[in-house]
């Protein structure tokens, strides 16, 4: 599978492990948060381990683990709230990404999975997400154009680019 990592299309070399699967000796892996907590010592020792977190998690709870985590996987999804018929895009992981980068200084990969379409990518990049797992049907090469959507912003986010406020009155 193709991935976008740091604005380049690369081959995905990460293995997502079931909770019962044996740990491969080497290579990048992603495990569930439950498994991370259950086997933390062994996983830390192995290294190259990432974990998947739900959008409900207050990421500060992982603060002490962050230096040992090579990757945090965040989920974006269209959800269908009640009553029937509505559909909305869940944007909680944008906050999670910014907090990981800006508040907790996380340096590892932040990987976005789920209902990712081209037009959500620019904001993901600004919030500090550097690995994007395109959903089925999304051409990763074409999706790279998303990084060029805007050349300026009114806010400083995890990308640390100076805001227009600061540029105009530098």
């Amino acid at each position: 599978m193709k991935l976008i990592r740091d604005q380049k299309v690369v081959e995905d070399d990460t293995v997502k492990l079931d909770d019962t699967a044996a740990l491969p000796a080497s290579g990048r892996i992603i495990v569930s948060l439950a498994r991370w907590h259950a086997e933390k010592d062994a996983l830390k020792k192995r290294g190259q381990v990432g974990t998947q977190i739900p959008p409900t998690l207050e990421v500060g709870e992982l603060k002490d683990d962050l230096p040992c985590l090579a990757c945090i996987e965040l989920t974006f999804a269209f959800i269908k709230p009640k009553p029937e018929g509505g559909i909305t895009f869940d944007g909680r992981a944008y906050s999670q990404a910014r907090l990981l980068r800006e508040r907790y200084g996380y340096k590892g990969d932040i990987r976005a999975v789920g209902d990712i379409f081209r037009d959500t990518i620019f904001a993901m990049h600004r919030c500090g997400i550097n690995v994007i797992e395109p959903k089925a049907g999304l051409d990763a090469q074409d999706a790279l154009n998303a990084f060029k959507d805007f050349s300026l912003a009114y806010q400083t986010a995890a990308d640390r680019q100076p805001s227009i406020f600061r540029r105009r009155l530098a």
Partner: protein, 555 residues
Amino acid sequence: MYRYDNYDKQLINERVAQFRDQTRRYLAGELTPDEFRSLRLRNGLYVQRFAPMLRISIPYGLLSSKQVRMLAHIARKYDKGYGHFTTRQNIQYNWPKLETVPDILADLASVEMHAIQTSGNCVRNITTDHLAGVAKDELVDPRPYCEITRQWASFHPEFNFLPRKFKIAFSATQHERAALLTHDVGVRIVKSAAGETGYTMYVGGGLGRTPIIGQKIRDFLPELDLLSYLEAILRVYNRLGRRDNIHKARIKILVKEQGVPKFTELVEAEWALIKDDPNLKLRREDLVHFQKFFQPHAYDKNASADKAHAQHLADKSFATWVQRNTWEHRVPGYRAAFVSLKPRGGVPGDCTAEQMDALADLADKYSFGEIRTTHDQNLLLGDVKQADLHALWQALKPLELATPNIGTLTDLICCPGLDFCSLANAGSIGIAQELSERYDNLDYLYDLGEIKIKMSGCMNGCGHHSVGHIGVLGVDKEGEEWYQITLGGSASNDAKIGDRIGPSIERAKVVDAIAALIETFVEQRQEDERFIDTYRRVGIEPYKARVYAEEAVTA
């Protein structure tokens, strides 16, 4: 008024290109309907009953004459020759074609306008007092703060997919005209005892299905901390706001479920961590930069020396218009002049391309080239010399823009209702038209005094029915249009949600029911009490008894 610099222009042009490409990809089948929906919505584009509806942003309700001419051009070229001013101080077009929307946005960008975040689950247009900058009771001009907030909220990468829409209003006056307490965030600009400018922050107001009055969460926020505090509120909301039920997704439900003390604690804890972030803290020079766009106009110092105005007032109908449709101005010899978009039998808020062009000319001639929109769906020329009022009135009359009914029963507000909106259960425009025809005797209207009737065609409450002195809500009853009436609501300083008078009423009887409420008011009224004050004094019973007694007789 604020003018774009090269940064603003570049960003807006990039936005036009982005939306053009999104539309192209959607039409080519490269974007799914759900994906495109989530994109077009944050650009104000709805798919409505007959055609797409495009909502264009009018930041804090301020327009230049050049912009108004462009709105007229858009009405002519892409629509059916008119536009509809909304309760959010924006303008909507009901008939554009999807394929032409990128061209409309390019035309708008050429006059520093856009449709960014006029819909969708994001921060919407920032609104304020329509008399901002000219009101006598104003502490400071709120518009520089509105513009700063508009820019901060535009394409905010973290808050573009919130649980639900998010509305922010500013006010800087004692008598509040911006309906702060019906907004997700209401910012009241205040001065501390030491004379420093700051903000009192209210959160969790909102209309719609569960109308709630906003709650104060901070007495005094220092002036330079505006953006960090807003960011803290939005972050708490984005993380914890409900996403399981669209009717429970507004911040008001989060505030209610957490309780005000707990919610306040969450915001304050988040704010404590970001308030010293140099990227969020405003600098004194930022404020100065934005304030210089809103300096007082070059007013004529001798404006009040004019004698002609007093002579013109001998004309009774002119005097009536001046009394009803103009408002005091902080500069002697000037008035703010309302342009009523509520003619007899008309659709509240509608304005034709010809009217817009004529208004642009009048604004150039008499009001420093600026026009404001109000959340009561009228327009306003903010700075008219008293000596020019007569000529202005004479020009407005043939345009049907001089109906002297501001603040009266027929200055009612309503949503587009079933006639245009795919969400509506019932019509509201037809009732507005019937009421304006039934109450066309101006003297009687003036005797009745201030009555705010607000109507919505569904629970979403775009017509603000729950804060109307008389609120009318359209409901669907087995496929028929019925109406729920409430009494005693208010969006002013004394903000309150109206009380239901009883079971809903069928379409054929709703105008009679409103008339019965008015008659009851007239009977109960002491001296020249306002409708709302009489209601507060006597309570709901006499109104209820009269409306349902009439129902029983005619049934």
